[in-house]
């Protein structure tokens, strides 16, 4: 093992240590690859390692330091990148056979910005195919295992991004979140995971799933690291017409300002949902007590329309996905069926062969929902429900600064445990309404399940573009609980 234990260092500390000359960026990259060598055979967080890119980036950091230049905020910080984000010099497979050999021809803006801040691109992380799933079991390249218990899922769809941070293989990572794909794996792996406000981070270069829902966001082992990464990737982008020109805050500054007077609302009716584990429900009430003890004004709120969230999401998400995935047709790139009889045969067989079952399910759902004669009953109704949910959140944020819910109704489950799609979909019941409303939310570890020993996540939801407030609340909670979860797998390495 390398002398540097990334799991014991925050991204901040890695950057400062490099700046102070305690170790080099190259050594940080070596440490990441050593850890991957030791653990990723079991975890399978990565689909592709990119040492040429990582070491080249590390050498730029080391050269800059040698020249006496001021180092950027994430200089030398090893990072994992979900495999649905384009980066020249990598394949971007989206966890799909369809794009098995697809080489990126341009850079995703958020990835570019992360690398411009000095981060080292260690590799591309495993995911459910095209981000359809909550366990990485839908990856065409085999699932990622939860570093807390290799028999359990890491959550999804950004399971690889969560696992590589949880296992200390990288300090930070980028995931994408359409209905909970960052926060849910964050909760299941005991990592800090943030879904920014829609428009906060450019979507240019992340392979689209649900265009009105998708956001790229960071994973880290601390709120501080997540704030640092968010600051690096945020901001307007001329390549994304839905990116916002709302100014980017200094998210990492002011995290220590506490929550005195902050209005914290427990979303009571979501907590009372059937299927929410008793211990998980209790963890939210305990979190509320923690906030109260820190001087926050804690109250309760109801978001009645969010009970339509799952249904609305499984119309809107697949509808947009069915359209976004049409381009994978075997004509210009991606899998092409051999010896097609005609163009229709080429389309049908290329797609049938290239896509996995969940992807095909979502495309069919979405195609149906948009079809003539069904549009009003499905897509139209779903948009109405979405409007009600947006209105619920708007009203709630008139009374509160942040809202509390569990991130997931249960802790990480075992592989194969959720065999029918619907029970799998229920895992995102708390995260989905936030995407529909476009708000920001973070999952922070709030304890371990007494029965399974698996991490529990607290979801804190913020108003539109109130990431600074959200992060401040999360940092106060993190500090007050003093909970710094490290999976047993990592502890077993000793280092």
């Amino acid at each position: 093992m390398s002398a540097i234990d990334l799991s014991a260092l925050s991204a901040h500390q890695v950057r400062d240590s490099i700046a102070a000359g305690e170790f080099t960026a190259r050594e940080a990259a070596e440490a990441a690859y050593a850890r991957i060598e030791a653990l990723d055979g079991d975890v399978h967080a990565f689909l592709q390692l990119t040492p040429e890119l990582a070491f080249a980036a590390a050498d730029r950091v080391d050269t800059a330091r040698a020249a006496g230049d001021e180092l950027p905020s994430l200089a030398g910080v090893p990072a994992g990148i979900k495999d649905n984000m384009n980066l020249i010099g990598t394949r971007t497979t989206c966890g799909s056979r369809m794009l098995e050999n697809y080489e990126s021809v341009y850079d995703c803006t958020a990835v570019r910005r992360l690398l411009d801040a000095g981060a080292l691109p260690i590799g591309k992380c495993n995911m459910d195919e095209f981000a359809f799933g909550s366990s990485t079991e839908n990856s065409a390249y085999g699932p990622t295992h939860n570093p807390w218990d290799l028999a359990r899922v890491p959550g999804g769809s950004s399971g690889g991004s969560a696992a590589c941070v949880a296992a200390g293989m990288t300090s930070i990572s980028l995931g994408s979140d359409t209905g909970g794909s960052i926060r849910q794996p964050g909760a299941l792996t005991g990592t800090v995971a943030l879904k920014p406000t829609y428009g906060r981070v450019s979507r240019y270069g992340v392979v689209a799933f649900g265009s009105s829902l998708d956001q790229i966001g960071p994973f880290g082992t601390s709120v501080d690291d997540v704030a640092l990464a968010l600051e690096a990737i945020s901001g307007a982008d001329s390549m994304d017409a839905t990116s916002s020109s709302e100014p980017v805050g200094s998210y990492a500054d002011g995290l220590d300002q506490g929550v005195r007077g902050l209005r914290v609302g427990i979303v009571r009716d979501m907590l009372d949902l059937e299927g929410c584990g008793a211990e998980i429900r209790a963890s939210v009430d305990m979190a509320a007590e923690t906030f109260a003890a820190l001087g926050a004004e804690v109250g309760e709120v109801e978001l009645p329309a969010t009970r339509h969230g799952l249904a609305a999401y499984y119309i809107i998400g697949p509808a947009e996905a069915s359209s976004n995935l049409a381009r994978f047709d075997g004509i210009r790139y991606g899998h092409r069926a051999a010896d097609p009889a005609d163009v229709l045969d080429l389309y049908m067989r290329s797609r049938a062969e290239g896509f996995g079952p969940e992807t095909i399910r979502r495309i069919m759902l979405g195609t149906y929902a948009l079809s003539a004669g069904y549009y009003d009953a499905y897509y139209g109704q779903a948009q109405k429900a979405r409007t009600l949910i947006i209105e619920d959140f708007r009203a709630a944020f008139e009374r509160f600064d942040v809202l509390l819910t569990p991130t997931t109704p249960e802790v990480a489950f075992r592989f194969g445990e959720k065999s029918d799609p619907y029970t799998m979909y229920l895992n995102d019941v708390y995260t989905i309404p936030v995407n529909l409303a476009g708000n920001c939310a973070i999952s922070v570890p709030s304890g371990l399940c007494s029965a399974s020993g698996m991490p529990i996540g607290l979801q804190i939801i913020g108003d539109h573009f109130a990431e600074a407030t959200l992060l401040r609340a999360a940092a106060a909670f993190e500090e007050a609980t003093g909970f710094d979860p490290v999976p047993p797998l990592v502890n077993s390495l000793g280092s």
Partner: protein, 532 residues
Amino acid sequence: MLAHIHEGSPALAKDRLTEVLIRYEAVIGLEIHTEITAVNTKMFCGCPVAFGGEPNTRVCPVCLGMPGALPVPNEAAIEWTVIAGLATECDIALWSQFHRKQYFYPDMPKDYQISQYDLPFCSGGFVDIEVDGDGVAERADLGGALAFVGPEAVPEDGGYRARIGITRIHLEEDTGKMVHVGGSEGRIAGATHSLVDFNRAGTPLMELVSEPDIRTPEEARRFAQKLRSIWLALGVSDCSMEEGSMRVDANVSVRLRGATGLGTKSEVKNMNSFKSLHDAIAYEIVRQADLLDAGSRVVQETRHWDAGAKRTSGLRSKEEAHDYRYFPEPDMVPFSFDPAWIAGLAESLPELPDARRDRYMAEFGLPKHDAAALSAEHALACYFEDAVALAGTDRARLVANWMLGDLAAHLNAEGIEIGSSRVTAAMLAELVGLIEDGTISGKQAKEVFADAAVSGDAPGAIVEARGMKQVSDTSAIEAVVRNVIDAHPDEAANYRAGKTGLIGFFVGQVMREMRGQGNPAVVNEVVRRLLG
């Protein structure tokens, strides 16, 4: 059976159309796609807008539909569309958005086209057309060219005026182009494989949909021509039907005169000239009428015009019912327009062809036909106005005559646009000046024009070099006339005896003697006087 005969029948006789249109009324609507060539970049990316070029050289991740790429709207293209709407009396939406139109085709990179659905930028406009000449006869219901009621009459030339409604003008992105290899003439039938060129993909494309107000092939042609002339005046597009920057499809159905319901329509495509548009619709009207006459029925389908065979043919493959599954484009936020911005655009609209024609008639005294011809084509109008500015307003009619005469013939013969003519507006003004001040005769001017059209030399220089200055000096001409009369005593006697037709003989003889340089008016006068 009849239908079968028609499928293979040759060119359509004009009187067949007229005959059919006495019994049947045609209901025609046009869909006109125009590429906005006025912009520098494509609709949703930064690639340049241009025609042709090496395949797939003007492409990027966005217009290739690469995974993760996003569209960013070209605001200039939206502004041009609004301008086009204002110029055709449309209402401009204050709130609008793009939709995705979904269907699979290899020339469409994303397998959906970003288009507009229920919220087009422009709706509810109209264009007035005038039909005169032979085309009037197609309106059988008007009872002949002169005796009709209904559309507003334009009595002085026996034509009529009609107002054609515009349902909407929306903005979308153009597709790429397929090239089929291995078959005959690039057709898909028999091809071994197909290539796609995405240079055109993403070019801003305005789609105008007319109301089904058009009743004859001639009206359809006039409507399309009028729109082209408006687009050219605005500068929104180069409107080349040959290069495909303007493409016209026609929805055609027929019904018995007096019937109120609509007949089954066919959509006719692939007309790459205004003549094709006229002929394809004429063919289609007769074809449908023949089907109905034979007790058969019209099938709703898309039909292609074959300009060579002068017939339309249905696609052999079975028609698939398209469900485009439109939904609002989530990659862009909706647009809301400031009424003041729209009003500003309306105020800064350039002079449109009809206004220009009327001004030419009022200001320069041009006959209506000439004024219309010069104002219909923006480049022609600019040339005309440049030449008149130099030659003087009182010579405008002469300039117009030259443009519609020798210049038009020259352009036609060379197959070039006016912008490529060697004879510039300044040169034509100079030429007209030389005629007007008597330096050269009209006949000499034709020679000078022909020379200038080849050499590009200034008319004054050509006159100088050829020593072809006109002789108007009466005493010099008198000397020549006397010599001619003396040389032809018999003809002179006959003339004086009443055969005044011989005047032409004497003028011709004099002009020959003077190598064409005699001022015809003076020669004429002197011959008459000395013979008289």
